[in-house]
């Protein structure tokens, strides 16, 4: 029992409530918003120390013994995900100070951001499948409002697609939970892991696995269920795009990794083969979609889809190495992807548009921004020595070691195509001529000066720094990912931590 487990949920809840009391004061809201994120990061670090030193930590809520009560479980995968989401929280919190307008602040932007993180953290921590559903809904309702907040025409259109498809996916998830309960009579994930192999009707178990795959697949935006993502993620303010693009789909990936390593491992020949195909198609279709667009954030949105494919592929390999690669890829991708979104926001502030054709001259007038973009874009494409290289390397290695040559080849090819899209952005937005209708002060407002643009640039620099550090000094993180993957491949530690010695 470790009481710290409740903090990553309780701190955002407390902060969100506190921020609501000061709705009318922008200054206080911003202060509370950012400090709350820092406190969250601190609590995650404390918990991380325990998990790192003593193994999987468990908290039985209300002191109801598992499997009857709700259990919070923190294994290494949970901790890595919590850590990255807290880092994103801090960074996006700072970015929001400049990016989010007063109107949205008055309508509770910071509270919603924290409630979103509470839902995300709850999803990572819970050890109960029905509770996971509840946390998904907490996360969803906050994301619905964040997406629609502001009521512009674009946002409403994006929000409609997002809301309906996500409502549907939640219902599918709930039905899957019902199936699990009907088959085993339990909802505790560790208990389910023990009971599912005993179910005689193995066909029904596989069917349930597919129901979960569809539901989480919609949330993670995999092929062929991804269409809602590029249709909605480019509509809200950049800070919201960044946290959505970075975190929300990865919660779906996390859920997929969790259920397909812990629960549904009976018929891997069927389920994981489908996952492999899904991963391959997701990579290719996503990157081709990106190649066909000329709007900064739409390109990035399609790249989210493409990158999800890599993670699914790693999971589908179903070896410690593959899952390690998938986890590393998730962490790296959250950093690189969110950073590119944040950079697109700075570029839009300077040039007044997201349309690549109307952009240009950023390299000439803002070389610092150009370098920051290069770091993130190369990391995304997988250039050494940046973080993306190690992520891709471990996945490729995992693929080759189990002789999955075709999909591994596809993964490498998609890396090249990713570079193509990034080059496209670079050519027009950074190298291109300064457009004639550029705002008058373009090139005159310094990044670190009176315009306070540094509030936007500092978060970008923090993430770029992390990308470089992970790239140059990857070993510690790789080892942590390996620990996480080993805990997933052999779930006996997880089960024992939750249910006690068997």
């Amino acid at each position: 029992m470790n009481g710290l487990l409740v903090l990553p949920i309780a701190i955002p809840l407390f902060t969100a409530t506190l921020a609501l009391f000061f709705r009318k004061s922008s200054l206080l809201q911003r202060l509370i918003g950012v400090l709350g994120m820092v406190a969250l990061l601190g609590s995650v670090l404390l918990l991380f120390r325990d998990v790192h030193n003593e193994g999987i930590q468990v908290l039985q809520l209300g002191n109801w013994a598992a499997p009857f009560g709700i259990t919070l479980v923190a294994d290494m995968l949970t901790m890595l995900m919590l850590g990255i989401s807290a880092i994103m929280g801090v960074v996006v919190g700072i970015y929001s100070i400049y990016d989010i307008d007063r109107e949205r602040e008055r309508f509770g932007y910071y509270s919603l951001l924290h409630i979103l993180l509470m839902g995300v953290n709850g999803s990572f921590l819970t050890g109960d499948i029905f509770n996971l559903y509840v946390w998904f809904e907490v996360m969803l309702i906050a994301s619905f409002i964040l997406l629609a907040l502001g009521n512009s025409k674009n946002q409403l259109q994006g929000a409609l697609k997002y809301v309906f498809i996500n409502l549907f996916s939640s219902l599918v998830f709930l039905f899957g939970v019902a199936m699990l309960y009907g088959m085993t009579g339990t909802l505790n994930m560790a208990d389910l892991a023990l009971r599912l192999p005993e179910v005689e009707n193995t066909g029904l178990v596989t069917t349930t696995a597919m129901i979960f795959m569809v539901s989480f697949g919609i949330k993670a935006a995999v092929f062929p269920l991804f269409f809602w993502l590029p249709a909605s993620y480019h509509t809200p303010p950049v800070a919201i795009s960044a946290i959505f693009g970075g975190l929300l789909t990865k919660v779906g990936v996390y859920a997929l990794i969790r259920v397909f390593t812990l629960l549904f491992t009976q018929d891997t020949g069927y389920t994981h083969t489908i996952l492999l195909w899904v991963g391959g198609f997701t990579m290719v279709i996503g990157v081709l979609g990106a190649a066909s667009h000329m709007e900064f954030r739409k390109i990035l949105s399609f790249h989210i889809v493409s990158q999800i494919g890599y993670m699914i592929m790693g999971l589908a390999f179903n070896t410690a190495m593959g899952i390690m690669g998938a986890i590393f890829y998730v962490l790296h991708n959250i950093l690189a992807k969110s950073n590119l979104f944040l950079i697109s926001g700075v570029a839009q502030r300077l040039l007044g548009t997201f349309e690549l054709k109307k952009m240009g001259g950023l390299y000439r007038h803002y070389p610092v921004l150009a370098v920051l973009f290069l770091i993130s874009a190369f990391a995304l494409a997988g250039f050494p020595p940046l973080s993306g290289f190690w992520a891709k390397l471990s996945l490729v290695k995992a693929g080759l070691s189990i002789e999955q040559y075709v999909v591994t080849g596809v993964a490498i090819l998609v890396g090249l195509l990713t570079l193509f899209s990034m080059t496209k952005i670079w050519l027009s937005a950074f190298w291109g001529k300064v457009p004639e209708d550029a705002p008058e002060d373009f090139g005159k407002t310094p990044l670190f000066g009176a315009g306070k643009l540094y509030i936007l640039v500092i978060p970008v620099m923090i993430i770029a720094g992390l990308i470089i550090v992970i790239g140059l000094y990857a070993q510690p993180l790789l080892e942590l990912c390996m620990t996480a993957a080993e805990q997933l491949v052999d779930p006996s530690d997880y089960i024992e931590a939750v249910l006690g010695p068997q």
Binding site: F130, E137, L160, F164, L174, T235, Q348
Partner: protein, 133 residues
């Protein structure tokens, strides 16, 4: 009951899917309502329907009368209903807002792609000034 309820749940689910695919946003929302109810019904049925003692502990006793009915599915459904209610309220508000803003409930019209998404972003002015509004 054990055979009728799953069939009813399935029929409602199918109706919900059909409505979900219609162009009118209102029908879509009704479709979601039906889907949500059919899933709740399925959850209820899957939890096994039995005619046993209520899972309540009488005054003066420390245990319920065995055999007692399983209360868990109903707790799950109750949670799911509450959550579904909240989400639906939001979906309705969003639909109403979209109707006011865009002037139609036909989704083909509603979702026609807007050209320049930059318009969604707030103008550059006045967003770094702190203090009260």
């Amino acid at each position: 009951m054990d055979t009728i309820l799953p069939i009813i749940a399935g029929a409602i689910f199918a109706t919900g899917i059909y409505l979900l695919l219609r162009r009118s946003m209102i029908l879509t929302i009704i479709g979601i309502i039906l889907l949500s109810n059919s899933v709740n019904l399925a959850l209820f049925t899957i939890g096994r329907i039995s005619t046993e003692n209520p899972p309540l502990i009488k005054a003066g006793s420390t245990e319920p009368l065995v055999p007692f009915a399983n209360p868990l599915p109903q707790a799950l459904i109750l949670t799911a209903i509450v959550i579904g209610f909240g989400l639906l309220a939001f979906a309705l508000a969003l639909a109403y807002r979209s109707y006011r803003e865009l002037g139609t409930v036909d989704q083909d019209e509603l979702l026609r792609d807007a050209e320049d998404t930059s318009a969604a972003i707030v103008p550059k002015d006045e967003n770094t000034k702190g203090g009260k509004a």
